[in-house]
């Protein structure tokens, strides 16, 4: 009986070995490629280090299962070969492992950043209320202005610091959003959604944008402040352009969150417009502080028109007002405001940011020259002296030549005179 069983087993083994021999090399290579491709995709979509460890085990299984076919795979996987294919998988695993290590590190960092942001938010609110109180005072003495300036500088610094922290938190999402969102599994998208919610990312970004917009309304700013804010705005916008559209894709179908992302885009626009508006308001403030009252302007064309109109009115009124008053307005406008502040400080920023063209600047300065020629006419005394001197020299030369001519003419004596 045992002998019969042994024989049967032998027949089965022979049958199986024949079946194994009769395998198509092509099918074997296709099967390898299929398993390889699944593992390669698995590495990209791994959601945790545990997933990655499981994939590593499967890679070892694949290597073991096909090691006997190494020779034919070396020839068939051209330009790769058996070993280089596994080296590529191993390096992908290591790279992805690095992402997870970074994510774990960033997650703990985010917790610290969040508490720092809370502290800075509180401090910002205190500063904003102090500035509001000082701004509401009608008369500002030097001490108040000084205090106000310090508070504004302090607030600006904390806002920038808070924005940097917000950027770091948003950056913590970057590794997860690095790949193609369309290739992400629903599980991956859910994880990102959870991370965004847990860290209140959208709320933090919105608060930051609102505070930055509010800061623009608090007080008038110097050109250096505006330049700094513009830079901060560019950094924020660049970061959001990298992450925002991807979050929109992740949230596709989640109406409430999509609306929140649209709101953030809208807040970016509001902030950008407020920076532009604040630039013009701060320039107007420069004139107002010197008792030059101009109409409101919110863009380069308005600004040019308002200034030209103001100068035209002053030219028209010359002679109607007292001469001293006209000269004083010109002097304050041109010397104390235009050439001292606008032309030297604001103009480079305005032109660099395409808020004003060089042609518009030239047009205004030509009008100022015209105004000057009327209000402060050129002193002509020297011209008169020069003309008189030329006339005198001419006269002397004429007389000298006449005398010489008279002396050289021979005297004709009439023969009949005697």
């Amino acid at each position: 009986m045992i002998q019969v069983l042994k024989n049967l087993l032998l027949v089965c083994l022979l049958f199986l070995s024949n079946a194994a021999i009769a395998q198509s090399d092509y099918e074997m290579v296709q099967s390898f490629k299929e398993r390889y491709s699944k593992l390669s995709g698995g590495i990209k979509s791994a959601a945790s280090i545990d997933d990655l460890n499981n994939i590593s085990t499967e890679i070892e299984n694949l290597r073991r299962d096909f090691s006997e076919k190494k020779e034919i795979l070396d020839q068939s996987l051209y330009p790769e070969n058996f070993n280089s294919s596994f080296e590529a998988l191993a390096s992908s695993v290591e790279l992805r492992r690095g992402d997870f290590t970074e994510i774990v590190g960033l997650q703990s960092e985010v917790v610290i950043l969040k508490s720092e942001i809370d502290v800075l938010n509180k401090r910002n609110n205190e500063l904003i209320s102090q500035i509001t109180v000082l701004e509401s005072q009608r008369k500002k003495d030097a001490a108040t202005i000084n205090k106000l300036q310090n508070l504004v500088a302090d607030l600006r610094a904390t806002l920038i610091k808070r924005d940097e922290l917000v950027l770091s938190i948003v950056d913590s999402l970057t590794p997860k959003l690095a790949g193609d969102i369309n290739l992400m599994t629903e599980q991956d998208k859910e994880q990102i959604t959870l991370q965004v919610q847990r860290n209140n990312v959208l709320s933090i970004v919105k608060k930051s944008l609102r505070d930055n917009s509010r800061f623009m309304e608090l007080t008038s700013l110097k050109v250096d402040d505006i330049v700094e804010i513009k830079k901060q705005q560019q950094n924020f916008t660049t970061m959001w352009k990298k992450v925002g559209p991807k979050l929109v894709d992740v949230y596709a179908g989640k109406g409430e969150k999509t609306a929140e992302l649209k709101e953030i885009d809208n807040l970016f626009n509001i902030w950008a417009n407020k920076v532009k508006r604040e630039t013009w308001e701060s320039i107007n403030e420069e004139f107002r502080l010197n008792n030059i009252k101009l109409q409101q302007f919110t863009n380069g064309n308005d600004f040019t028109n308002v200034i030209i109109q103001f100068i035209s009115d002053e030219i028209k009124n010359y002679g109607v007002k007292s001469k001293e008053e006209s000269e004083k307005v010109f002097s304050v406008f041109a010397d104390s405001v235009w050439f001292k502040n606008i032309s030297s400080e604001w103009m480079p920023y305005l032109i660099e940011n395409n808020l004003l063209t060089i042609a518009q600047k030239d047009e205004i300065e030509k009008k100022i020259s015209e105004w000057k020629s009327i209000v402060v006419p050129r002193d002509l005394t020297l011209l008169y002296v020069a003309v008189a001197a030329v006339f005198l020299i001419g006269l002397i030369i004429f007389l000298a030549m006449k005398k010489k001519k008279d002396n050289s003419t021979p005297t004709i004596v009439s023969e009949n005179s005697n």
Binding site: N18, I21, A22, S24, D25, Y26, E27, S76, Y78
Partner: protein, 151 residues
């Protein structure tokens, strides 16, 4: 006179030796694995790896006597060590062996494998043979025939 004959023979021999065809040998042309190529609507197959493309309508017509039998089909193609191309397809009764001529494949041999037609044929390179598998059956092929021309 004998010396002249000898010299003449020597010159003729030297001349023919110089004019003989240049050969690079030995050479091995065998592919490690077969290619499975889908026939397109115009009857062409294309193999990107080996950069070859050719029309298979005539082979399908030869096999089936049906001018449209190539539609939605695929062929199995492998090259043996000597440089001959072996082709077949599911439901073919034969394996076709081709040699390359200018811009064409020329039929060298056609081996009948089974009257009932191959169900799921596949080629393997098993030096010095090309192994044809169909289900559990295997055949050893050379450019001369099955089992080296014994069958």
């Amino acid at each position: 006179m004998n010396l002249l004959k000898f010299l003449f023979t020597l010159i003729i021999a030297f001349y023919f030796t110089s004019c003989s065809t240049l050969k690079l040998s030995p050479a091995e042309f065998g592919w490690a694995i077969e290619s499975v190529l889908k026939v397109d609507t115009d009857g062409f197959v294309k193999d990107d790896r080996y950069s070859i493309s050719f029309n298979v309508k005539a082979m399908f017509f030869e096999e089936t006597k049906d001018s449209l039998s190539y539609m939605d089909k695929s062929i199995r193609l492998i090259r043996n060590n000597e440089g001959f191309y072996f082709m077949t397809s599911p439901n073919f009764k034969n394996v076709y062996v081709f040699t390359v001529i200018q811009n064409a494949f020329e039929l060298k041999e056609k081996f009948l494998i089974t009257e009932s037609g191959l169900k799921k044929p596949a080629f393997n390179q098993r030096l010095p043979f090309i192994e044809l598998i169909d289900g559990e059956k295997t055949y050893k092929l050379t450019s001369k025939g099955i089992d080296g021309g014994l069958k």
